[in-house]
Symmetry: C2
Subunit: 84 residues, 2 copies
């Protein structure tokens, strides 16, 4: 596999996990006062656009990566509305 | 421009702005207790990989988008370490 492919797959894999530490922290501490609701709403809308883009290109890496981030963004929106 | 291109450019543009509401909120409120430091450290490392990927592909959309997100992630790491 070429370096460029290794970098691309690594970046995609890490992207899908970026929100995980925030989800775990907020779930444990039941506090989301300092979290921006707008950030995760923008992220969620953006993931839907990325998934549509991936679907049109029939690119399952884009679809799956963004589906994972969309699910975590949705959890953060739920946490923010629940814990405030 | 085809629908797939419009979706791709829209998603890229929105991605670069995702962290902005969090930067503004944290800057205004001077409080980052509920923010996950690990999330923004992972994001920053990931942006560096994305920028290297974009550089190898000579793709300036990838480079610029991720340079903007890297700068915002760096600001959030600074805020988190400053305000706690």
């Amino acid at each position: 596999m070429a370096l460029v492919d290794i970098l691309g797959y690594s970046a995609g894999a890490i992207t899908s996990l970026t929100f995980l530490p925030q989800v775990i922290k907020t779930w444990k501490e039941k506090s989301a006062r300092d979290i921006s609701l707008l950030m995760f709403v923008i992220a969620a809308i953006n993931e839907v656009i990325w998934i549509a883009y991936g679907a049109l290109l029939d690119n399952w890496v884009i679809i799956l990566t963004n589906a994972i981030v969309l699910s975590m963004s949705s959890v953060m929106i739920y946490f923010k509305l629940s814990y405030r």
